[in-house]
Structures are given as structure tokens and as C-alpha cells.
């Protein structure tokens, strides 16, 4: 018997957190994602007794996450662009200390205080770094409210599988819109004790130290090599993407998140005009599906990357394609969502160029 519900993105995410057996949420209000914290303060205690705490800032939030994640508990936080910027130091610490946790960025227009409208302007920050040092986050990009739900469960699984922070890169529209979702059954909270966690030194083991401080360069190098090895393994095992109508397409739209859905509509409109357009949607932004894109480039004439930013993921598309075919870009900034018609115009522009 499926459990179906019409839910707002942020609330669906919060519900998924409860059902994932999350032990703790430490967060701070910021538009457009405050509903996550609000929903949890209302519902979580009676459902699973998980800790829900409104911290005094995003900086405090991420450090509470760091402490709690270090005990081996399933913890998460969510925020939006300016708040995520504040969390960068903490995220770097968590990544270096190899602690599992789930982070959510419901992206809004920037830079600066920006706007509360949706954007994809934090791609670089999330996928290429954000905080200091050579670390990577596992990044998932939902494009439906259903994926907002599914990626929470998946995110926690990946976080503990790899002992790495996982970021769900959502946006303000997904957070606010309402869609039908199928909710997975409640998972129990566990009291698992991990060997790497701080739980109190018992007589049978050495003390556990969670730190990212490794002053000796040899040791720091060792840590870095280990992290890089882990990321290479993640790049092999955790690539996720979706291809729609790419088999005999002349042009493929490459987009992530919400924009991929708009691209599907644009592709439909293009088909009605006789242009064969497919859509390639990366779901994992790290690891990025370079190989799949590269292979697809053998069979299409051009890629058109569509984003709600000045051109961020397009750089990864260009890297993937490595010059085989033209990679064009169109995007909107400032919190404006591109329409299918706008994208169609660009498609026609490129298509004319190609067939000329």
C-alpha cells in the first residue's frame, strides 16, 4: 500500500529526514528553507524523539553537526546560499575528519544577500570546493519533490558508506512547490557505535580523537592521499544521471535540478518543430558523469547547457566533451526561472547554426 501525499518540497524533505531515522537536526532559519526546521520542530519529537535544535547561527549549526556527527549519529542541517557560505569552514573540517552527515542547500539568487528566488548559482561552491582545502562533497541534485524525499534516504546511506558529508543541491522553487510524493516507511533510529566515533573511552580501546589538525606535512599528505583515493572510488561507484530521448537526438540539453524539467518541455516543443532534442540530466554532480557525456558526444552534434546561473556546470560539460562537439550555454540569473520558450529560441538559434 503506497503512502502518497501532496507535499511542499521543504516539508517533504523534513518528513524524509524523520523517516530516515535521523538522530539530529541543527539548523537556522533562512528563506527559502525555514520550513524544514519548522516542520521538524513540530513533528519530530513525537515521531522519533530525534533532536531538533534551532541554533543561533549557521556557524553554530554546522559545528553542532560536526560534534554530533563525530559520535556516529545520523545528523543533518539545511540552509540556503548565504548560510551555506557561513558553514564552509565547518564543512571543510567535517570532510577532513571523514564524518558522515547530510547537508541541504536550497539555493537562492546571489551573490551577496541576493534574492529569495531560486537559482543554481552555488554549483561551483558545492561541487568544486566552497571551503578550504582539497576535499569533495558527494552532491545530489533533485529535480522533483519526490527526489527531495528520495535523496535524503540515499544521502544518509552514502554519507555513512563513505564517511563523507553529502550535499543535496536543491533550489528555492523545489523547496516551495507542492507535488505528489510517495513516502518510504519509517526507519528506526539506531544506537550503533562506530569505532571511529567519540562515545567515551572504554577500557578495551584507545581514546578516539576526531580532528582535522595534522601539523606534520607527511601526515597531512597521507590524509590527503587517503581522501583522494576515497574520492576516486566514489567516482567509480556513485555516478547517477538520467538520459531522456537522447538515442537519435541531434542536440542534447544538459541541465540539472529543476531546469532539467523545463528542458524536457523545451525538448518537446522542439520535437513539434521537427528538431530532435534530448535531455541529459546529471543527478550526482559529484561524482560528475563525465564519461557518459563524453560517449554521448559521439552521437550528437551539440550540447546546450541550461542553468540558472552565469555558466557553472557548463564548464564540467566542456571538460567531459573535451572539444569533440560544440557546447553552448544559456542561462538566467537573479532568481529568474527560464521558460521552455526561451530555451526553444536558443535551440533554434544553435540548430540553424549547425545545419547551415
Amino acid at each position: 500500500m503506497k503512502e502518497l501525499k501532496l507535499m511542499k518540497g521543504n516539508e517533504a524533505l523534513a518528513e524524509a529526514a524523520i523517516r530516515s531515522g535521523c538522530d539530529g537536526y541543527f539548523g537556522y532559519p533562512i528563506t527559502p528553507q525555514s520550513e524544514v526546521l519548522e516542520y521538524l520542530t513540530q513533528h519530530a519529537k513525537e515521531r522519533t524523539g530525534m533532536v531538533v535544535l534551532q541554533a543561533e547561527s549557521e556557524i553554530a549549526s554546522i559545528n553542532m553537526i560536526y560534534g554530533a556527527a563525530g559520535t556516529g549519529k545520523k545528523v543533518m542541517t539545511s540552509s540556503s546560499s548565504p548560510g551555506i557560505s557561513l558553514m564552509q569552514e565547518g564543512i571543510s573540517y567535517i570532510a577532513c575528519a571523514e564524518l558522515p552527515c547530510l547537508l541541504v542547500n536550497v539555493v537562492r539568487g546571489g551573490p551577496g544577500l541576493g534574492t529569495i528566488q531560486p537559482s543554481q548559482g552555488d554549483y561551483f561552491q558545492t561541487v568544486k570546493g566552497g571551503g578550504h582545502g582539497d576535499y569533495r562533497l558527494i552532491v545530489l541534485a533533485p529535480s522533483t519533490v519526490q527526489e527531495m524525499v528520495d535523496h535524503v534516504k540515499l544521502g544518509f546511506d552514502l554519507a555513512f558508506k563513505w564517511r563523507n558529508p553529502v550535499m543535496i543541491l536543491s533550489d528555492g522553487a523545489l523547496g516551495q512547490m507542492m507535488e505528489k510524493v510517495e513516502l518510504f516507511p519509517q526507519m528506526p533510529r539506531t544506537n550503533e557505535i562506530y569505532p571511529w566515533a567519540t562515545t567515551g573511552k572504554t577500557k578495551d580501546r584507545e581514546r578516539t580523537i576526531i580532528t582535522s589538525l595534522h601539523i606534520q606535512p607527511d601526515k597531512m599528505q597521507e590524509i590527503n592521499l587517503h581522501l583522494q583515493k576515497k574520492y576516486k572510488a566514489i567516482e567509480v561507484e556513485e555516478i547517477r544521471y538520467e538520459m531522456i530521448d537522447c538515442e537519435d537526438a541531434d542536440l542534447v540539453l544538459v541541465a540539472f535540478g529543476l531546469v532539467a524539467r523545463i528542458c524536457q518541455k523545451a525538448a518537446q516543443l522542439a520535437k513539434e518543430k521537427g528538431i530532435k532534442v534530448g535531455v541529459f540530466r546529471p543527478i550526482s554532480l559529484f561524482p560528475y558523469p563525465y564519461k557518459a557525456l563524453n560517449q554521448l558526444a559521439d552521437n550528437v552534434k551539440a550540447f546546450l547547457t541550461v542553468e540558472m546561473n552565469a555558466g557553472q556546470m557548463v564548464e564540467d560539460v566542456r571538460l567531459a566533451v573535451n572539444g569533440k562537439i560544440p557546447v553552448e550555454f544559456t542561462g538566467r540569473m537573479g532568481g529568474i526561472i527560464p521558460t521552455p520558450e526561451e530555451i526553444l529560441n536558443k535551440i533554434e538559434e544553435i540548430y540553424v547554426g549547425e545545419t547551415a
Partner: protein, 276 residues
């Protein structure tokens, strides 16, 4: 040349048992606990950190809670506190130790959790976390080492640096016009209802060391009552950056730091129930 003195020197040179009948286990009245790791500490000669660490280790050993204690180390001279305390510890980002401790205590409410911070960590960059952790009344112990200067980074001014006190960033002495007055953060947070116990101690004399230990003992035991936060400030010295010998620094501490940061209880529980 003092003959007797030379004799004593010879006797103790190899730390061998000098008077076997006296220096035997049955007569042992004091030694550092096993919860303090037997390794040389990197602190400067005479630095109060060493005593503070040892007192924490003693309390944890005496209460027999090593397997239930988690500590949070700061950024500062004591960033390596986890190399000296034989208990599970987490290294926090600068200023954030009380937030890290909050995260730990909220998900593991039955453990004994303490944070250990210097004056930059707790009263400069960490002020927001300090106030809110105290305000929420987290059931943790916050230990605040106040030596009025930034040690690890080479002697810059701290929020608690005294007026007129020289540092590398106040080479002519702290000027109130430019930098304001020394911050009495402990007095500030003592007013918050979430703080159950707040006291100021020092470790410059044997009596003060005994009182400091008692304060830390309270800080651990009160966690069992779940009535709020325990805050213990330890006014300490920094011989290196105060540019004095250890003995001079303790004298300077008595004559200058203690009048401004007076020792004693700022807040005591009215009828502290005995922890079961």
C-alpha cells in the same frame, strides 16, 4: 659548596628510589592520574594549562567516568589537549567548541561533556556560541582559561587583556579609546538563567589549585542533575607572552589580573541536590 645539597643531587639524578622505606607505594599520597597521558607537554615552563589539564584528568579518574566523558579541544595553545587527556576528544574550529559540545551532548545526553577554551576562542570569535550555549543551559561544563593574551599566535591582545597591558597588537598598552575595556565575559554569562554554576578560580598557588579542582569536580557532577551549564573560569598566566619568569608571572597575576577578575563563585546552586 653545600655537601648535603650535592648528596641530594646525586641521589635524585636518575630518579631512583632515594629512601626505599619512604618512597614506596604504601606511602604514596600523590601522583598524576592515568587519565593524564604520560608524555611531555608542549606548554611553556610554568604555564597554567598543564595544571588545568591535570585537574580535569584527576576529576575524571576520581569519578571513574573516563568511559563516559567526551571533551572538546579549542584552537590555541591547548589545541593539542587531546594528546594529554586520555579520553575521547574532538578538536573544534576556533571559537566553536561550545557548539561542538552542544551537538555531542544533545545526541548523547547521558555522557559527561566538557569544552576547554582560551580567551580568544571563548570571548572573541566564539562569543556568539558562548552566550547561546550558556543561554540554552546545555548540561555541559565549559572551562575557560583566561590569561589575557593570545598565546599560540604569538602574544596578541585578547578581549580580556587588561588596560595598559602590552601585547604585540597593543605595543603601547591596551588603549580603552581604541579597543574598549577588557571583557568580563564570565560576569556577563553568569546572569543567564541557563547557567547553573559559575565560578572563577586560579591555579597559581596550592590552595587555589585545590579550589580549582573542586570547581571542576562540581562542573562534572552537576551534569547529572541536568539543571544547566557549569562554567569555570581559570585565571592563568602566560609567562612567555607576558615576558616574565613563571614565578614573576604568578605574582603579576595576583597583583593585576585577580583584582580585575576576582576569584570566587559568581553563581552557586541554591540547594544543590546531591548527585545520585
Amino acid at each position: 659548596m653545600n655537601e648535603k645539597r650535592l648528596l641530594e643531587e646525586e641521589k635524585h639524578f636518575e630518579t631512583m628510589i632515594a629512601e626505599e622505606s619512604l618512597c614506596s607505594n604504601e606511602n604514596l599520597v600523590y601522583e598524576k592520574p592515568e587519565t593524564l597521558i604520560d608524555t611531555p607537554m608542549h606548554y611553556c615552563p610554568g604555564c597554567g594549562h598543564g595544571v588545568a589539564h591535570r585537574l580535569i584528568a584527576e576529576v575524571v579518574a576520581e569519578l571513574d567516568i573516563q568511559d563516559e566523558t567526551i571533551g572538546v579541544a579549542p584552537v590555541g595553545c591547548s589545541v593539542f589537549a587531546y594528546n594529554y587527556l586520555n579520553m575521547d576528544m574532538t578538536e573544534a574550529a576556533h571559537g566553536r567548541a561550545s557548539a561542538v559540545a552542544t551537538g555531542i551532548k544533545r545526541v548523547l545526553p547521558d555522557k559527561y561533556v566538557f569544552s576547554y577554551q582560551g580567551d580568544g576562542d571563548l570571548a572573541a570569535i566564539g562569543t556568539g556560541e558562548t552566550i547561546h550555549t550558556c543561554n540554552r543551559g546545555e548540561n555541559i561544563l565549559m572551562i575557560f582559561i583566561n590569561n589575557g593574551i593570545y598565546g599560540m599566535t604569538g602574544g596578541q591582545m585578547a578581549p580580556t587583556t587588561l588596560v595598559g597591558m602590552k601585547s604585540t597588537t597593543t605595543p603601547f598598552g591596551r588603549d580603552v579609546e581604541i579597543m574598549g575595556n577588557p571583557l568580563k565575559i564570565t560576569e556577563l554569562i553568569a546572569q543567564l538563567p541557563g547557567v547553573y554554576y559559575c565560578t572563577r578560580v586560579a591555579v597559581n598557588t596550592p590552595n587555589n589549585v585545590r579550589k580549582a579542582k573542586k570547581a571542576i569536580m562540581n562542573g562534572f557532577k552537576y551534569q547529572e542533575l541536568k539543571k544547566g551549564l557549569s562554567f569555570v573560569e581559570i585565571v592563568s598566566n602566560c609567562p612567555s607572552n607576558w615576558k616574565m619568569t613563571p614565578i614573576e608571572s604568578n605574582k603579576w597575576l595576583e597583583e593585576n589580573m585577580l583584582p580585575y577578575y576576582p576569584l570566587g563563585d559568581l553563581k552557586v546552586p541554591q540547594n544543590p541536590q546531591k548527585a545520585v
